[in-house]
C-alpha cells in the first residue's frame, strides 16, 4: 500500500518505521527541513518537505494514488484540513487523523474524517467503563467511518434488564453481534435471548444510531 503521513514528529516517525517494516511504501510530509533530513538519513527517500494541507504539495506527493492518509501533526485543525483535502480533492479512500484535543473527535467524525483517533479518549473510555456513567466503549471504526463496533455493558437499573432482545427498540442498521456473560461462553444473541445485569454486548451500529442503541440497552427504566 502507499501511505502518506503528514507530520514528522514522534507519532509520524513511529508510524513510518512500523509501516516500512511491513513492506509498505511510505511518504512523510513535514514543513521542517531538519526533520526531513533525519528521516532521509534513517530510512532513505521517504520524506518530502511541504505543508500537507496544501493541494499543490499533496499533488506532488502523489496523493491520488495513496491508499491511506494519516494526519499526525500537533494541530487538530491542520489534521482535519489535511484529511479533508486528501479525501475530497484526491479521493484517498481511508483518512486517519490524530486528535489532540479529545473534544474534537466527534467533530472530526461528523466532518468526514474516516478514523479520528484520540488517545486520551481511548484511555478515558477504558477507565470510565468501570463507572456506571459510561457503559459504552468504542472498539473499532469500520466501513470508512460509517459503522462502529462498540461494547455495551448492561447496568443495573437499565430498562433492558430482564427483557428479550426482540422486545428492545433497537435502532435500524444495528446488530447485536455477541453476548458475553460471566461464567459462560460468548454466544450470539437471538431475538429470544434475555439480557441480564452485567452482560456485555458487542454490537455493530451506525454513527447516527449509537445514541439510540445506548438508550435501548442501558437507558434507565424510569426516564
Amino acid at each position: 500500500m502507499y501511505i502518506i503521513i503528514v507530520g514528522g514528529g514522534s507519532v509520524g516517525y513511529s508510524l513510518c518505521k512500523a509501516l516500512l517494516r511491513e513492506g509498505h511504501e511510505v511518504l512523510v510530509l513535514d514543513k521542517d527541513p531538519a526533520k526531513c533530513e533525519k528521516f532521509e538519513d534513517e530510512f532513505g527517500s521517504v520524506c518530502m518537505r511541504g505543508d500537507g494541507c496544501e493541494v499543490a504539495v499533496l499533488a506532488e506527493a502523489g496523493a491520488s494514488r495513496a491508499d491511506v492518509f494519516i494526519a499526525a501533526t500537533n494541530e487538530d485543525e491542520d489534521n482535519l484540513v489535511a484529511c479533508q483535502v486528501a479525501k475530497h480533492k484526491f479521493g484517498v479512500p481511508r483518512t486517519i487523523a490524530r486528535v489532540n484535543d479529545p473534544k474534537n473527535e466527534e467533530i472530526f467524525r461528523r466532518l468526514g474524517v474516516d478514523c479520528p483517533v484520540s488517545v486520551t479518549n481511548v484511555i478515558l473510555e477504558h477507565i470510565e467503563e468501570k463507572l456506571p456513567t459510561h457503559p459504552l466503549i468504542h472498539l473499532l471504526s469500520m466501513g470508512e467511518g460509517k459503522m462502529e463496533v462498540v461494547e455495551v455493558k448492561v447496568l443495573e437499573g437499565a430498562r433492558s434488564v430482564g427483557k428479550a432482545v426482540k422486545e428492545l427498540s433497537l435502532p435500524p442498521d444495528s446488530v447485536l453481534a455477541l453476548l458475553i456473560r460471566n461464567g459462560q461462553k460468548p454466544q450470539v444473541p437471538t431475538g429470544d435471548t434475555v439480557l441480564n445485569v452485567n452482560d456485555r454486548i458487542i454490537a455493530l451500529t451506525t454513527v447516527d444510531g449509537e445514541e439510540a442503541l445506548k438508550e435501548a440497552l442501558v437507558g434507565r427504566s424510569n426516564g
Partner: protein, 155 residues
C-alpha cells in the same frame, strides 16, 4: 433576527421616513484588521455583533464606539461558540490568520450549528476551491486582490 423600526433618511424626497430594517446577529471569529473592520462596519449599521478572539489584546482594534460583544475564546470550541450565541446566530464569519482554523470553525458553524450564512477567508486559492466544492462559502483575498491589481495595472 428581528425587525426594528429605524429612521432611514430618504434624501431623494427630502423627507425622513420610517422604514423597517433587518438586524442580523453575526459572530465574527478573529479580531485582526479585517475582523475588527468588519465588526465595526456591521455594528455601525445597527447589527448585533459578537467578536471572538483567543487574545484579548486584539480587541484594541475595535473602535471606542463599538456596541457589540467581545469575547475571549476559541471559535473552534463548541462551548465558546454557544456562549457567543451561535445557536441564535444568523451569520458566522471566520477571519483568523489561519486558513485551517477558519475552515474548521466555518464547518462547525454550518454543519453542527446550522448557521444560515457562513463565510470564511482562505488565503490559499487551491484550498478555497476544495472547500467551495464542499459547499462552504469561502473568499480568497489572494485571488481577489491579484485580480483587482491586474485591473488597475491594465487600466
Amino acid at each position: 433576527m428581528f425587525w426594528r423600526k429605524l429612521p432611514v433618511a430618504c434624501y431623494y424626497t427630502g423627507r425622513i421616513s420610517l422604514e423597517e430594517a433587518v438586524i442580523v446577529k453575526v459572530i465574527i471569529m478573529g479580531c485582526g484588521r479585517v475582523g475588527a473592520q468588519l465588526a465595526s462596519l456591521l455594528d455601525a449599521e445597527g447589527h448585533d455583533v459578537t467578536v471572538l478572539d483567543i487574545n484579548a489584546h486584539s480587541f484594541r482594534r475595535l473602535p471606542p464606539s463599538f456596541s457589540g460583544t467581545a469575547l475571549v475564546g476559541d471559535g473552534t470550541d463548541l462551548e465558546t461558540l454557544k456562549k457567543a450565541g451561535i445557536e441564535q446566530a444568523d451569520a458566522f464569519v471566520a477571519v483568523t490568520q489561519g486558513d485551517n482554523r477558519n475552515v474548521m470553525a466555518a464547518q462547525i458553524a454550518k454543519r453542527i450549528f446550522n448557521v444560515p450564512k457562513v463565510v470564511c477567508r482562505i488565503y490559499d486559492p487551491l484550498r478555497k476551491d476544495v472547500y467551495e466544492a464542499l459547499g462552504l462559502e469561502a473568499l480568497s483575498p489572494t485571488t481577489i486582490f491579484a485580480e483587482m491589481l491586474k485591473d488597475r495595472v491594465l487600466s
